[in-house]
Symmetry: D2
Subunit: 319 residues, 4 copies
């Protein structure tokens, strides 16, 4: 299906959960080949057949595009090096998500800008699900800005990274469930608000509360939307169908609602909607689910890379 030579890809930060997922996905990509992969703490180890080097020694010249899953605050510098070497890049950290230097890579929403971009900032995992759920409503002016949008999000623990911390031990997490960053203090909030304003024209208040789930992968967000007018089930569903018509990585559920098992190991967002009964003013509950490591990170990065390179958008991805 691909008669060209595979595109040489460099991966920075390959030993964390997101980096490993990049290697796993790229291993089966029909149009790309890894030319280097780095990881400071794991340099020398072999993952998915690639011997990990150090970021400072990465042979940037050998790559056509660089994907960085380095930590926030570290990634920016190495991505700048790659850019200085004339390479296009997708940065999976938060370092460029609020920066005019990069295109925000929420593929379904910003596809044309991604195609032309030299540097793409890959969205955060929580914002990916929330934005894909809210933008269709926001763009239609359906969100009542006089009442707050409440987002309760729950994530599997791979979202918290692989560094050893007591609160992430199996003995602490299994059979447990807890909220964190309560009080609207999560660092993804700024990204969420800025993007919802820019892409959806909505600048009302959001209340975002993340939770830690005893699962490995997956994010499910229950999004409570005050509406400016009543939407019945069919109208609400039709609105999303129109917004995401033909999108290969968006699944709109009907009759059922999204669940983690519908999305894990896939590069998809699943979205379902239900009008709220037994209240005086119109509301819609929107449920959105993604795999935090795939559509919420490595998968969307490859989706963006494919768009940048003119490859089939879902090459190497199971949507």
């Amino acid at each position: 299906m691909n008669i060209h030579a595979p595109v040489p890809v460099g991966v920075l930060g390959a030993s964390g959960y997101v980096g490993q997922e990049l290697l796993r996905l790229l291993a089966h990509h029909p149009g790309a080949a890894i030319v280097f992969a780095t990881a400071e703490s794991a340099a020398g180890e072999v993952i998915e057949g690639h011997r990990l080097g150090r970021a400072d020694d990465a042979p940037l010249h050998a790559a056509e595009i660089v994907l960085s899953a380095l930590p926030h605050g570290v990634s920016g510098r190495y991505v700048h090096d790659a850019r200085a070497a004339g390479k296009r890049a997708v940065d999976l950290s938060a370092d460029f998500r609020l920066s005019p230097e990069a295109v925000y890579g929420l593929t379904e929403v910003t596809r044309p800008r991604v195609a032309a971009a030299e540097l793409v900032a890959n969205p955060g995992c929580y914002p990916t699900a929330a934005l894909l759920a809210l933008i269709p409503l926001a763009q239609q002016g359906l969100i009542d800005a006089s009442r707050e949008v409440v987002i309760d999000a729950a994530s599997g623990v791979t979202g918290a990274g692989r560094a050893p911390r007591r609160e992430l031990l199996f003995g602490e997490v299994t059979e447990d469930f807890r909220a964190y960053a309560v009080g609207n203090e999560h660092r993804h909030l700024a990204e969420l608000r800025a993007t919802l304003a820019r892409e959806g024209g909505f600048s009302g208040d959001l209340v975002f509360t993340p939770h830690l789930l005893p699962v490995k992968r997956g994010i499910l967000e229950t999004i409570h939307v005050p509406l400016t007018r009543v939407l019945d089930q069919a109208t609400a569903e039709g609105l999303y169908q129109a917004a995401y018509h033909g999108e290969p990585c968006v699944v709109l559920t009907r009759g059922t609602l999204p669940s983690l098992k519908d999305v894990v190991y896939r590069n998809r967002v699943a979205i379902g909607v239900v009008p709220v009964a037994n209240v005086r003013r119109p509301r819609l509950t929107v449920i959105a689910a993604i795999d935090n490591l795939v559509k919420g990170a490595a998968g969307q990065a490859i989706q963006n890379m494919n768009v940048m390179l003119g490859l089939p958008e879902t090459a190497g991805l199971a949507c």
Copy 2:
């Protein structure tokens, strides 16, 4: 410590998760002794040393008080039989929760009425956590009825019962998380609204969305409360401390927030509060956690029984 003979207790419906928990807790109760335990499908089996009989054959006369964990719709009839035999009763089903025939047994709130009651309706698991979290604010008129209270609740699977259903298989639930009864349709909503109005004087709108967690036990509720005025952290905490001063089964967290592992296998509710930043109007997030089988069912039933019988309120219970 207890010089009286133990009170003879009968248990109806002892083979489900709640019934088993009743047997487990009563086995170590210093002032009560099980005189019969019934279970239709498991009649003849021995659980915690008690041979299970059938409800129709229960020797009601031998008991001083009857606890029923029979299913909704079935329990009512057997509880009526017990009442007709002159026995006091605690009904753990939903059959009397909205009925004037029974006292609603949210112990911390209705204790004096429970003490005098012949029949106590034990609260539902979700309402127990939500009501203990909301009533202190409601009683002070602090909840802004012009905006909805949003409650996202997550429960372990024992809340769904022990009958074999495909969607409750391990292979379906592990590594999964999903919402259900979305759109404000859960049958606990009426109980929640009625009690919050009666005990807290609040009759604004609630949006209640339950979720199924891949854990065995525990409920965590993240409750989003629009306020009539700003509450800072200390004031909010002080309000709950005043409301629950001296309560043995209420834990108010400070510095941390409740988590399932703080409450499982205990007859306690843990409550924590955080004012919401980055919004224009005052809001408080309240987190409440219980063990759905203990404070949410069997434990609270025994707590109510103790109050009814004049025993120490926490006899047989680890709070």
Copy 3:
């Protein structure tokens, strides 16, 4: 990469865990296309884009090869129908595993016979791991038949099927672990003994004890092998490397030992060996791991199908 038209494949029994895995894997197979998929209880449902029909109505003529994941005792009849219609078949049930009518499809061991077969009996999940671990030792006459080979195997719950049974509920399985079919009574034992005798020439005693793990997927077997002579670490590893040289779906660990997470969602067996210290007579412990749904069922069936059809052996499979 595949310039021929995809081979039309029919799937019988597509709603269980194995059947779903067949659909999931075939969806990404570059050289095969599903022409029908059946499931009695779920007829009419759509899984992976295929509307399920009933086995009795399957358009056998449309397929070139039929894969059956129907239950044991049921599958045989439908596979005979397919054979009568002139179709080649891979049967994933136990119905032909001890029958001379079929070739036993342990691909790495019986590849040439699989290639020529009209009917392949796909091995059981437990035997797949045990046989790939034991055959290299057996073929070299290294297993001491005067002492028993002890196999402790642990499987994720998808191995027990999707029919609702109380003992498979999440509330029963999570945080639990138990043995079953204790006393050497598991129905896979006959398959294991017969194959080890036929392919390895070993007919000493085996003690096989399966366990149920609180995980979704994966089998790990800890195999205790009494040896006829001492094998040191390097010699033991070398023996397996020689036996499986060039095999794409066999991973021999060195320095580490196999773990479920190395194999899930992949069509591979991982095998590691350690000589036993602190005993008087020579012994080797062999650890083998597979994904019960992939190399233990659907994946190996597709591997066999590929061999039968002359397709690349790992087409559609991540090994």
Copy 4:
């Protein structure tokens, strides 16, 4: 029931999983009261109502007995301090398990010596289950020393401690299962062999292989015993019933086999036996299960303490 003042107990090492379990159990002990609890890394924190101090500052004089859950290699020194201060002690570390200085506290086997002891070495978790399963057979000379006893043990992760290590992260352990210390290298082996020889008179070979389970608590051991003569089901069960007649913390299963959920949160061992079919020489499979934190550590320590102090043996314990 206890008219004496509670015995003052000191706890060293209270912040690990075992130490926390000691505090949890002692909190409900009717005849004991904690007078101090220490934990280096968590000094100043409050657990179960006790402010943790430092071991070097422990007011040893205030205690009548000291329980130490300090780490191996550290505990010995502090226990010697307690002994030098004239205090009796139960050491939960491995420091005295092979030492003539202490009585080995496998309560059901060494009860009279425990009662008289000044210093008790609490058994390791794995040996507790294995020894209680094997000693009755060993004492009767039923184990065939010409063939090895094979023990496959699986433990929940709390057995590996609370120190943060990457391989114990939830993301690494969930949905995984693996063996460790393969090749008969586990440090519990010496304790197991020495005790089985001393208490059971058996000095044949053992092969012990531990595994890490994705559960919080519990150990299940599948023990493969070559026999000197055939034992049928009834005879084998009768042998254990005779050996453990009247023991409050031993449960012998009949018809079913032990499972983790039968033992967690309880101070019991559950043992079940099955003769092995389909082999030429007599064998028995013995399954034994305990809660690694209770009967495998903190619970048995309290059981031993009760015996030492002349309290009811199960005071404070749910068996």
